[in-house]
Amino acid sequence: MPHRRRELLGFIVAGAVIVALPLATRNPYLLNVAVFIGLHSMIAIGLGLLLGFAGQISLGHAAFYGLGAYATGILTVHYHINPWLALVIGAAVTAVVAFLVGRPTLRLHGHYLAMATLGFGIIVRILFNEGGEFTGGPSGLPGIPHLALGPLVLRSDLHMYSLIWPLVLVQVVLSRHLLRSRLGRALRAIHDSEIAARSCAIDTGRHKLMIFVLSAIYASVAGSLFAHSISFVNPNPFSFMVSVELVVMVIVGGAATLWGPVIGAAVLTIVHQIIVQLGGLYEPIKDLDVVIFGLILVLMLLYQPQGLARLRLPRLGRLTGEGDDG
């Protein structure tokens, strides 16, 4: 089946890139950017499922990211809990919180989830800021220990890279299986026509809620890994703007595709870095990031609404003789 083969090709290419990058360069800055692309991919993959298959937008995923990061920070710094256990507890707490946020809104029609998560994200950020010694307040919580795999302490970006990117691969494989399963069939049906899905006894509210909770768990795990990789958390990386950027990543890459969220995460993280670098040379450029992201979003929606992952490369298509979409 050509579709299968293309899918396999995607995994091989991705695996090769992941292995090749640290072999090709040990530039710490590039590795650091690659770690962040990986973390953003982890979140974007969940958001992609949510947007692509439940048709819902969350404007509060930076908050779930933050919940994971702060759970790790608080549990390891204040309570000296094993980091892996802290990661799991963080994910579990985040899942419960997401359930409570999603349950009342996902049963309703329309974009109530977007509104609810927007408010939720703002509240969570205030809690991080106002948490006193517990959260470290605006100045943050330092001294988060490194993760360890047995005797190996994951202190460098290369270590974190080698942990995060295989996880991203696992997530993509999971997404693929999810979408081939009975549940996935139901999700694709909901995405296509909610009325028809309900005529098939598919409980659309419940399925959307499951995907939302899963996406929050992904974000929380990414948050925990983030906290370990920089040993420090403060409220800044979990702002509303970051939530928006995460959604833009998904739309730019392509929501209802396997690799779209990863591609989007890579593109936008790199664009963001370029803006930061240029901002170092000429300060006002920094303030342009909102404008630039907005522009990217508008251009994508106008010219490639299915995302970069669905971009047709005409020459490549002729080469393999395939024209159908996957």
Binding site: R182, R185, A186, R188, A189, D192, S193, I195, A196, A197, R198, S199, C200, A201, I202, D203
Partner: protein, 245 residues
Amino acid sequence: MSLLLTLSGVNTFYDRLHVLKGASLHVNEGEIVALLGANGAGKTTTLRTVCGLLRPASGQVSFAGQSIVGRSPEALVRLGITQVPEGRQIFGPLSVQDNLLLGAYGRGRRAQRTEVPGDLARVFELFPVLAERRHERGGSLSGGQQQMLAMGRALMARPRLLLLDEPCLGLAPLVARQIMETIVALRAQGTTILLVEQNARAALRIADRGYVMETGKVVLEGTSEELVRNKDVRRAYLGKDYDEV
């Protein structure tokens, strides 16, 4: 004959728009009942109220002796009411087979392995063209084939009551006739059918009884023979246009 579905004095709104204004009708077990009426009379709204997509503001809807007002569409499918919605509403990007399997979604995990494969085979028997194209995208089928797919998908739920909303809309007369014959065959297998149809002549040919709706109310009811003979029905719904089918 036992009552399967009853609506009495049902009022349904779209927001503030009052659409069903005290509609009453009933369907006996094993019947084919036609629901006729002009565009906008409220036929689709009636079906949507029965299958739980719309909640009536007042009035009673009961199925097999119990009130079903306020139940979700999912729960009603499990109870035995399945709708083939207006305009087919198949899942275009999904394969024909996936579409059919989704019809059996509400039947629990165990049924998926035990009963569903047999039901799938039966649907393929009923509509051989679906078997031929089982791996193709639902959206790539022709209009008539999509209608067959929509019906096949509904049958996968093993409904006691099948609600059909204009199953022959836009189909060539020959295909429309084939769909009508299928409906008769389904009834013979024990499925009760409430059929909404613009083509009154074709519908009354296979129905036992019929209702005529106007602006949200049932204005006329009778056996198919009575309705075919009725002057008002003849004038309004059995014009020349329908003679050929």
